[in-house]
């Protein structure tokens, strides 16, 4: 695998990732379509994903959770707005609450997948679009109570143990 480019735009809040794989477009498409494959790569390292639903069709939705190294489940959902296999897919990705259903009042991030054949394999573009920083923080876990409490605990410890000596003047 080669990552051709990775572009972040802080004003538009987008992330574009282009990667090339030594496999056919059909096989690259399959890692999205087959939930047993999807759950092997969706979670970050150490956070395995489990898909309890994966209706990979236009208007279809998916439900999943990622399990933290401490065993806590973090729930999410996908909605497939456009599917044109094995070339293009547009989807929404949002946070879910403990029953797996979309968290009320939290807008999903947008995603576009583009897959095309190259001379040596397949190029895949994934674009992610966020609405605002608050949404990004929620997606990274800030909105979750456990995460928040954990973070505050860390900050608390930090402030108690390591009071900086002399604050540098800005």
């Amino acid at each position: 695998m080669t990552v051709i480019s990775s572009t972040t735009d802080a004003e538009r809040l987008t992330l574009d990732l282009v990667a090339e794989f030594e496999a056919s477009p059909a096989r690259v498409w399959d890692v999205w379509e087959d939930p047993r494959k999807l759950e092997r790569w969706w979670g970050p390292p150490g956070w395995p994903a489990t898909y309890t639903r994966h209706d990979f069709e236009v208007g279809g939705q998916a439900r999943y959770y990622m399990t933290s190294p401490e065993g806590e489940r973090h729930y999410g959902w996908l909605r497939f707005d456009l599917i044109d296999g094995p070339r293009r897919c547009e989807f929404a990705n949002g946070l879910a609450v403990a029953d797996g259903e979309p968290a009320p009042g939290v807008e999903p991030a947008g995603g576009v997948i583009e897959i095309e054949a190259t001379a040596s394999g397949t190029r895949m573009l994934v674009q992610t679009r966020f609405l605002d920083l608050a949404q990004m923080e929620l997606m990274l876990g800030m909105g979750m109570q456990e995460g928040f409490a954990m973070a505050l605990g860390q900050v608390d410890a930090l402030l108690r143990e390591a009071v900086p000596p002399e604050r540098a003047t800005a």
């Binding site: 695998m1 990552v3 990775s6 972040t8 735009d9 802080a10 809040l13 992330l15 990732l17 990667a19 794989f21 030594e22 496999a23 056919s24 096989r27 690259v28 890692v31 494959k37 092997r40 790569w41 969706w42 970050p44 390292p45 956070w47 933290s68 973090h74 394999g121 895949m124 994934v126 992610t128 605002d132 920083l133 608050a134 990004m136 923080e137 929620l138 997606m139 990274l140 876990g141 800030m142 995460g147 928040f148 954990m150 973070a151 505050l152 860390q154 900050v155 608390d156 930090l158 402030l159 900086p164 604050r167 540098a168 800005a170």
Partner: protein, 125 residues
């Protein structure tokens, strides 16, 4: 997730917060409505009345929440005519890049994991 915790530590250990009583920050963030107000003020400067439209509580109650956030130095208030505009501490705005970098790392990891699955299948193209 883990990255997120580091970011929060970075934020709170930054100069912008070092003069503020930590208890005020913790108190301010302990309330879900205030966290939501803060999240909205990160996005853009907006009036107290615009913020209040998102909640089923009185304008006065929202003003009180904003004051708690202001005393914790999480937001600043600027007067514009008859309106009071609320915006998050500028320190917050620098986080856009940090957050995008966190998602970039997530997708780099995902691409690598996809490549591993494809290599494992190992069937001829």
């Amino acid at each position: 997730m883990l990255i997120y915790n580091q970011m929060v530590v970075d934020l709170f250990s930054s100069d912008a917060f070092s003069e503020v009583d930590a208890d005020r920050v913790f108190h301010a963030l302990a309330d879900s409505t205030r966290r939501d107000i803060l999240a909205r003020a990160i996005l853009r400067e907006q009036s107290v009345s615009a913020l209040a439209r998102h909640y089923e509580i009185s304008l006065t109650a929202v003003q009180k929440h904003v004051s708690v956030l202001e005393r914790a130095a999480l937001v600043t208030k600027n007067r514009s005519g008859r309106e009071q505009l609320v915006i998050a501490n500028p320190e917050m705005l620098r986080r856009a890049n940090t957050l995008l970098k966190a998602f970039e790392q997530l997708w780099l990891d995902r691409a690598r994991q996809i490549a591993e699955i494809l290599a494992e299948e190992g069937e001829p193209r």
